[in-house]
């Protein structure tokens, strides 16, 4: 059943969106969609129910070039446009937010800072391995007591003799943490916030998994615990950035992908609801013929379409290097918000069937509750936009 309702071949395109894409952008989207239809949709409900990440997909996605695809070819990546990258996130999240989160973290939060802030040796070592999915990364910024205010972090790194650093602290809500071969850990130093690459197996470093989630159940979430972890400066310290702008730069990349990805989950739920409304008969007519359901469907497709065009314009500006983080905030805030609402409305159209795993709707809806909060909460992005237009930061 899930297959029948979930493998719709084409994206929802009400406003001639596909006509705005280049040939290779279309091909990237179709390649990702084919992959998701064949490899993800048939298995994802079970993984979500069992709370397991479909780890067998990691090397497949690596072979297809899904990790860090916008980075240059010389590091083993594909050199895609930002829009093509966004379309990839859209299609992956049409499968599941957990899968898109995995790729987002690997590409935007680990490979991107290594590429942008790392030494040449760090880039040469990590990027080709991570592009293939042979090494997995995670990103440690958020702490138990510092979420929206990461600048207050307690994790500390102290310089030691012999070119070493000692790191102590705890990070929380870390996607991929337990399965990662390397963590990008942000810590306070005498010089301000710095980024460190901490490898799995380093003495004093552990990453226990967070259990009991009702959201992102097909994704690994962890804590990172660093107790007197000693790392080598040359291998570990990201030399080319100091201060909060380091991690915030990464988040801008990831938020950009989320602005696209969330729409994928919404598209899946909208198409499922439309199909259901057309085939479900009540009072001798398909429920799609009743005005209340049509109002929902019209709202859903309208918001999905507006979100697509917002993401596309942002992507074009990103490629032209004329975009701002506050614009990314608007796209992340709006697109996740409307996507969550689209999934909720879809659930009501499906009635009781909407709560079953025969349909993808409730899974997407629950996933987006996390996406609404992570990578800058909906409220924080609202305040960033407020600051942008008024010049007054209301969150301090």
């Amino acid at each position: 059943m899930a297959g029948a309702y979930a493998t719709f071949k084409h994206m929802t395109d009400y406003m001639g969106f596909e006509g705005l894409l280049s040939d290779e952008e279309k091909m990237v989207r179709e390649a990702a969609r084919d992959f998701v239809n064949a490899e993800v949709l048939p298995i994802i409900e079970k993984h979500a129910q069992d709370q397991t990440f479909p780890a067998h997909l990691i090397p497949m996605m690596g072979d297809l070039g899904f990790y860090g695809p916008s980075l240059p070819e010389e590091y083993g990546c594909a050199g895609l446009s930002s829009v093509a990258y966004g379309l990839l996130m859209y299609e992956l999240e049409r499968g599941d937010s957990g899968l898109r989160s995995f790729a987002s973290v690997q590409g935007s939060l680990v490979m991107w800072p290594i590429y942008e802030y790392g030494s040449e040796a760090q880039k040469r070592h990590w990027l080709p391995l991570m592009a293939k999915g042979e090494k997995i990364g995670c990103f440690g910024l958020t702490e138990p007591d510092f979420g929206s205010n990461p600048g207050g972090m307690l994790t500390k790194a102290v310089k030691e003799p012999g070119g070493k650093w000692r790191i102590n602290g705890t990070k929380m809500w870390i996607t991929n943490g337990t399965v990662a071969d390397v963590a990008v850990v942000w810590a306070q130093t005498e010089d301000g916030i710095r980024g460190f690459l901490v490898e799995k197996g380093t003495k004093g470093f552990s990453a226990p998994e967070t259990h009991g989630k009702w959201s992102l159940r097909a994704s690994v979430t962890s804590e990172l615990i660093l107790e007197d972890v000693i790392v080598d400066e040359e291998q570990s310290l990201l030399p080319n950035v100091k201060g909060l702008k380091g991690p915030l730069g990464c988040l801008t990349q990831a938020r950009y992908g989320i602005a696209w990805g969330a729409l994928g989950a919404a598209d899946a739920s909208y198409q499922c609801a439309l199909d259901y409304a057309l085939s479900r008969i009540q009072f001798d007519k398909p429920i799609a013929s009743y005005q209340l359901q049509q109002e929902k469907l019209a709202w859903m497709v309208t918001e999905l379409t507006k979100g697509q065009l917002l993401a596309l314009q942002l992507g074009r500006m990103k490629d032209a290097k004329t975009y701002t983080p506050a614009q990314v905030s608007m796209a992340k805030m709006n697109n996740v918000n409307v996507s969550l609402e689209i999934c909720r409305k879809a659930r009501t159209i499906l009635g009781a069937n909407g709560i079953l795993d025969e349909y993808p709707v409730m899974r997407h809806m629950a996933n987006l509750e996390s996406v609404y909060t992570y990578e800058g909460t909906h409220d924080m992005h609202t305040l960033i936009i407020g600051q942008e237009v008024t010049g007054i930061p209301a969150y301090r």
Partner: protein, 248 residues
């Protein structure tokens, strides 16, 4: 080794087909176009030979500009070169003749194609192409290998498998089961951007046949509810099966 793969662009199987106003062609509105699935098996087999034995793979398709999508996709999957034979021919013999005119004297060791084009289902271009070129052929192939002497192919036949051997050059038409086609990788897609599609005016003769009408199947009549208690319904059903459906 030089390999040619003939690809056909066909309407997506999910397309809700509508007949155009002329009554003999598809209404192209809302039609999404894809590579015929059997041709995907053909291309995959060529790409595997390229990887295992070393080969230059050229893909070719007949049609207008829209067909470039199919060719570009094949380049993204790993084909080395792509040729668009510009033509509006659709009759199988005209298509085969145009393909033969292109392939002749180019030294292809193998020509792969789907055993039929999805939707049209003529299953005749491959065999005609082999005949026009005067070379060996094996059709509806589910297993294929290149041997020292030529090729060995397993064919799906009614109730079993037929194993044939032949000399190269040859035309091989692919059947489902031959292989599992790959996905285009993002690097492949970016690499395809740098390759060009050669455009050639096709030399296709007038068709040997012409489509004169395209008719959709009649809509299924509405269901009928039988009235009365179980015994009455059973009797009515029995009568309907006997007198109307004439099942017995």
């Amino acid at each position: 080794m030089k390999i040619l793969v003939a690809l056909k662009q066909v309407p997506d199987t999910e397309t809700k087909v509508k007949v155009a106003a002329d009554g003999k062609s598809l209404d192209p509105a809302d039609v999404k176009w894809i590579t015929s699935t059997y041709d995907e098996y053909a291309l995959e087999e060529a790409l595997r030979l390229k990887e295992s034995k070393g080969a230059e793979v050229t893909v070719v398709s007949l049609g207008g500009d829209s067909v470039k999508d199919v060719l570009r996709n094949a380049l993204a999957l790993g084909a080395d070169a792509a040729v668009l034979l510009k033509s509006d021919a659709s009759d199988p013999l005209a298509v085969a003749t145009a393909l033969a005119a292109y392939a002749k004297d180019k030294g292809f060791d193998l020509i792969f194609a789907g055993n039929k084009g999805m939707g049209g289902d003529n299953a005749s271009v491959g065999p005609m192409l082999a005949e026009l070129l005067g070379i060996a052929q094996a059709n509806v192939v589910v297993k294929f290998e290149v041997t020292d002497a030529g090729f060995r192919a397993e064919r799906e036949i009614e109730g079993g498998t037929e194993v044939v051997e032949g000399a190269l050059p040859a035309v091989i038409t692919a059947q489902k089961g031959l292989n599992e086609p790959r996905y285009a990788s993002l690097k492949g897609i970016m690499a395809a951007k740098k390759k060009t599609i050669e455009e050639v005016e096709a030399t296709a003769p007038a068709g040997a046949t012409a489509v004169i009408a395209l008719v959709l199947p009649a809509a299924r009549p509405e269901g009928r509810k039988l009235d009365g208690d179980a015994a009455a319904q059973a009797a009515a059903l029995l009568n309907a099966l006997k007198d109307e459906a004439k099942v017995f």
